[in-house]
Symmetry: D2
Subunit: 500 residues, 4 copies
């Protein structure tokens, strides 16, 4: 209420109480002021009460909520269903305008503020997460793959002759398809096997550049976060190479924001060489629903070029989700999540289970123990900060189909995200055939199982997963694998695609 | 509750009451059964109670809501904020998989059902709206422009040599940019002035085809819904031409679902010639928030190709919105909206104001009367079923800037969507310069003002708009235009872009 | 947002848009200002957006929502469940203080405002509904019966010698029990049969007063709304009698606010005689959930005495419900409901069905027609403005149990509220035995069925009820009453108690 | 969804996924089954998802949500406002019937189940909290005071001659008024000063019984939870005395459920003597909004008599709140709250602050330290398990008004619940004058300040309170008490009433 209404209220309820109420209101306003002034994620999270107050204030500024508005356009933010209006806090106009997804809408000052603030808060949190010199970013309501496509389409206008994208192999369909969809020809560079790890083959990449001619190459498309035993690409060296040959460099940082290692690689790459843009998933890094990504970079004008390449308005839903989430967590809350990847859960769980050690270490230790019990081993992939892999050699020996059967068994036992990778799978994606698909290599030495310690994982997740996995492996020993027949092999095969 | 729980309840509460409760539950289940079986929009709208019951049921089927799930993947549908979880009904996994936005997710049976059903219900409603032979469609969480881009990118793989898109001019930035973003060169074909109307110049288009060579043309990109005095393209003739020359045909049907004329044009085009896909906005046709579109067509395999071209998962938010809305309205409800474009508002307004006549007719009559009072006239654009235009000749004579000032005045008076189009505006979009921008023609004979009778418009909107417009025009007569100085001309200029 | 925050926003989003947003906010503030200043129900209903904004503002003023509060009391408004906090809009402190349910709470300025405003708005709406000279009222979170008890307990302190309450018989348990619970002895006065109607026996009442002695009588407890063929008491004459003998007069106006006749009776009674308080149900008159009542009267100090008699704080939930409802409807909306008792439904039904005639008349006509078809008649009870009764003579003749069987059949066919009244039922309530229970008379000439046209009834309700009733009656004619055995007679017996 | 709908879904989405979804649903059903079968608070809390699913299921069983219902009664559960319907989960019919607040409603099987289950779960939790032999209880939507009144009114029917209630003095208005409202004469028995504590004067009570005659005494009305230095009454001895003289015994256990000591006293009292009913607040013990109480006892038939004394239906809102809360917490969660009275907060606070020590001990230690610093002392009141008192002797010496000024200062500094008790306050409540009001004694030796460690208190509450209190006391030392003039003394006086 404004000061006039507070004054009138003093005639109804004792003025000292009303004045205290008005002062309490200023407490919320003060938090909003800081957000507007600084454009940063608040250090401490806001209460739901402040967040909803703020969102209501934004909504009131949009023309579809004007009490005296009359609309005779073709888009007036009318909503037929009350359920729908409410779930969007009556913010209906989306974000952006025809010319630019980051542009301001005359009809929707509130939605425009939401858009600007979200991008600003997200930029701040990317810095908090380790890319200190990032200068510009925007949230786009498309998943990582389509966002990469948008980057490639933007580059096309700058490099009209270019036909190729150099891509150190990573077996994820959507990042491969992002190049195909944009109309380019991926040049797949196989990885080198170093110990158990699959690492970027810099030499082959450089010779490819020389072979194809730098001007014919749209960009190098590298990857940070990935499933072990592949590890993040050698970003520094690639960035230096891009600078040397004057080739753009786009980084797929899908779920790398949660890892200080991945973020460090990007920061270093940008410092010593060239990174034009890095793209990350909203849902995988910020615990929001699927459907958004952040496109970020170090050159404002290039990032703006990308945002101007998106034709038309866009859904505000992913922006709203990430803004609510970051205001709820605060920078401190997000930092804690990053530091500990500790137990964190939604309000549905009343008593939050707190982890005393880092979940990644915990998962690694537990998997290692389990592997040894079953005559397997935890692959040594220390460059991969999130994903782990446990060999499944003896299982493979026992039975050709046992590896895929294990996947099915885990699925039916509600172990989600545990991905089994058999050897010898061949798959054709958009006309390109990958040998040893899912393993990032034509012929990886052994089959294995992946598990990841991703943001939000809990001690209970690890404990249950290890317990069920142990049970499944014991079942194989007894050669009673009846359950496995209920699910098709192909199911697990698909499940395994980490970028799916 | 299942039958077991109903039985136990009979020990607590009189069994005859419980049995009646169980029977009542079957009533809701029956509605859900029909939806699942037929995949059609129910004739009568569902109650909020049934809708929420259904959405809760879907959510329960997704792994992030499994009570015994343990997750060790990199994406587990964890949500940090309770506000966010609730506003998505705990449906977190989005839609689609890496390979296909229409694909099923193993981790999310409920979200997958949601996705399939939405596409199926939307297909049904497109038939209801007039394109009876449409065979396939899907909802995509991108606005119309980006969806058109996706269509063009898909065609590229089928026509690798093609560089051009033939495009009868329509002054909307996002549809122009959709071609640029996809990397093609638009061939802009000016419209013919027939009476007051701007209509497709078929002859020029055909000579362009012959000049450039059919195989070099990606497609013809035509438009239905548009601002008067431009009228929907001659879709039948264009479709016949596309068939003759074996050129794909993509139709921008932005807000045309609400118009039986536009839908009829598409139906006829497909009957006598070739239409590969038609794209429409969710928000403009279904009264949902901005951010989604429907890509539809007559050939299942081509539509599926497009859906497979989207790399990665996508937001379920637009699908959820349109499904809720269509279940709330029912086919009957939507039909009524189409028939009457009558007063319809969200629950916030308790008493709905019912229109006794079609809003379009009402708006036309009122505008006509007003125009005559002020020495102007309603342009004769009978082929345009939604948008109307009133000349502003005498205003222009009075004062060079008066036309744009009128736009500003209407904006500050909360008349949203009334778009003024001065003459002589020149604008460069992505390197292409448009003379007479906003008027769809290099040199339209007069400046004018647009108003549209779009879905959800109310009698009150029309009355208020006419009243305020009248007041503004009178102000000009008195030559007291002080207020207009508060807003920049450019503002109204941008506001005028209907596809913004 | 306050003006400072709007100013800062102008640096982020174009200032003309922000200023328009700020102006729009003032629109909502203006509505709130009027409410605070006048304390009246707004003429036009508010949007959900304004209502939620207002409730959020109130919540912010309560200490449990202070950002810097520390609490060391035994009641601090802490809430364990987020679901609970949200459903109360974070208004946790309830209403009133130990001394007075209408008192202001230091810890909860917002809840206190809510309480004061609700009582003020409700007072206004009682005037709108016809009791123009009502001077004071308050909402109490107890149903009608317990509220009557509170009135009687308050009177006890004023009339310490009084033991009796004179009560023209009406067969509703809770109003009878309200006297028992308060510790008084009801003096039940049988009604006179005039035509089909049961009317107040004034002469017997007066002789009872003389017999018992006015000073031994706590009050006369009369009734307006009731099931036909009983009709509202002769309030004017009773009020005059109360004035004459100096006896308090409490009126049970359970669902009479919706009837201008009932309200007129109260207004007249107060004008010509004495009415100390009249009590009405919130849920039955205002379409809110069960659990609240309004205690109103013409003497501020007596009404305040009652409010001070309630020991301790109380739930704000009924106040919140009725305030939201009246702000949503507006006085105009409520007036329309009163005038037409027309189709009105919650948001779940998208298309509201509008009645063209008064529902009461419609129901009466339909029942009459039906009655004649089946050899029965609609009882003539024109003094009862809400309830109707149709004789069931031929049914009774056919079969002793047929009347109660009809009740069961209607129940299983989801006709709710249709109440069958067989003859000869005897029931003992709190030690007092009623002959002919449910019929308000020891020996009413015929059994009958009641149906009421209460607020919110729809044309569809009437149509379906008549149709199903017709079907049931036809079944009896065919003497195939198998279904009736599934439900016990007693069930319908209980169902029939209108005050249950 | 029922099994039929799951089957149909298998045609749309892969059957293995649907089957897993169906299995997941059974997980929720299983939790519901246990609740229905056992009627106990689940050990582990439910997720919001299960709770909402369950509430939706209940709502579906109520006739107002039947899809085919037609209503012609005077109460049909119609709701005018969607906001209102939703906040009650569409459970509109309240609880109880005219005859009994615990009775089942034919029209509302779901609400009836809700009512029965709530009472059953609450009974279980009373046992968990320490009264193991409690046999019957019910939730009533009235605060503690009015609930006590209901108990007294019920007893009246059993002891028609009784006029007096014997009441060991406790300075809380509402419990005093509960007797006045019921129409009885309180016999106030002053407490004995033992050390710092005020304790029950058993001897005086016994002589009062003998003086007045047992048959003239309605009951003894004792108290457990109270503000220090008063301590819980000697319940065992009182219970024995009640048994000896055959006098009913009603215990005001306002916020005693949270204290094992208070609950133990009740358990012991019932074991060795007579306790007819004990009444406790919902909001003070279960962190729900104000407005409900639990009436419990050891004799089913007496508790049922009380429930039958409530005339008419009642609000389900408090029942719904406490059921949601207990399902959210689970018995384990509630036990933890009891054990630690540790930091626990709503979802609005993302990171919950965990206390490492019992809050009561913490508060006591901190207060003690602070008292010593300022030349005061923590009163020794070890029999009071919740409330603490710190003397304010030197403050009183300094300045007559200083004690009340301190109260005002704390209020304006957002320290809520800290209650200052000056000496010599006299107050008349319902005609009875209390000397030394607020201190439970005519002439307590010193003024003091109360602070309580009540359920939900956090470490931060304690720290902030001590810090601000310290600052205020220092201000007095500097004799700069300017701020105190802004608030009236009387304000703090009222604030101090713990039962307010």
């Amino acid at each position: 209420m404004n000061s006039e209404n507070f004054s009138i209220s003093e005639k109804i309820v004792s003025s000292s109480y009303i004045r205290q109420g008005a002062q309490a209101r200023r407490g919320h306003e003060q938090l909003i002021r800081l957000l507007l002034e600084q454009g940063k994620c608040p250090e401490d999270g806001w209460s739901e009460s402040t967040i909803e107050l703020f969102l209501n204030e934004l909504a009131v500024m949009d023309s579809n909520n004007f009490l005296g508005n009359c609309g005779v356009g073709e888009r007036e933010g009318r909503v037929a269903s009350g359920l729908v209006a409410r779930r969007h806090y009556r913010l209906i106009h989306g974000i952006g305008r025809s010319g630019d997804i980051a542009a301001i809408q005359p009809k929707a000052a509130g939605s425009s503020l939401l858009n600007k603030l979200t991008n600003s808060v997200v930029l701040d949190i990317l810095k908090v997460a380790g890319v200190r010199t990032v200068s510009s970013c925007f949230v786009v309501p498309m998943a990582t793959g389509m966002s990469l496509t948008l980057c490639f389409l933007t580059l096309r206008h700058k490099r009209p002759k270019a036909k190729y994208i150099i891509w150190p192999r990573i077996d994820q369909k959507s990042c491969f398809k992002s190049m195909i969809t944009a109309g380019f020809e991926p040049v797949v560079v196989e990885n080198l096997l170093e110990g158990d790890e699959l690492r970027t083959d810099l030499q082959t990449i450089e010779s490819k550049i020389q072979e194809l001619g730098a001007e014919n190459i749209l960009c190098i498309h590298s990857t940070t976060s990935c499933f072990a035993p592949r590890v993040p690409d050698r970003l520094e060296e690639l960035a230096v190479m891009c600078a040397k040959y004057n080739i753009p460099h786009i980084v797929n940082n899908a779920y790398g924001v949660q890892s200080s290692k991945c973020m460090h690689l990007i920061q270093q790459g940008a410092r010593v060489g060239r990174i034009d843009a890095f793209v990350q998933s909203l849902d995988k890094n910020f615990m929001v629903p699927v459907g958004g990504a952040i496109i970020a970079g170090f050159d404002d004008s290039f990032i703006q070029d990308i945002s101007r390449m998106y034709p038309g308005r866009a859904s505000a839903s992913p922006s709203l989700d990430v803004l609510i989430t970051l205001l709820t967590l605060g920078a401190n809350g997000y930092r804690k999540l990053l530091k500990q990847r500790k137990v964190f859960s939604t309000c549905s769980t009343t008593f939050q289970r707190f982890a005393v050690q880092e979940m990644y270490t915990n998962l690694a230790e537990e998997l290692k123990k389990l592997a040894e019990t079953h005559g397997e081993r935890l692959l040594e992939t220390s460059h991969n900060p999130i994903s782990l892999a446990m060999s499944l050699c003896s299982l493979e020996k026992q039975n050709d189909r046992a590896v895929t059967q294990l996947g099915s068994m885990l699925f039916t036992r509600q172990v989600s995200g545990a991905r089994v990778v058999p050897r010898g799978t061949e798959q054709t994606v958009s006309g390109y055939t990958f040998k040893g698909f899912m393993s990032h290599a034509n012929d990886y030495p052994c089959p294995y199982l992946n598990a990841a310690s991703a943001i939000g994982i809990t001690k209970e997740d690890v404990t249950l997963c290890i317990k069920r996995l142990d049970k499944c492996l014991k079942t194989f020993k007894k050669e009673k694998c009846d359950q496995s027949s209920t699910l098709e092999t192909s199911l697990t095969g698909n499940e395994g695609d980490p970028c799916e």
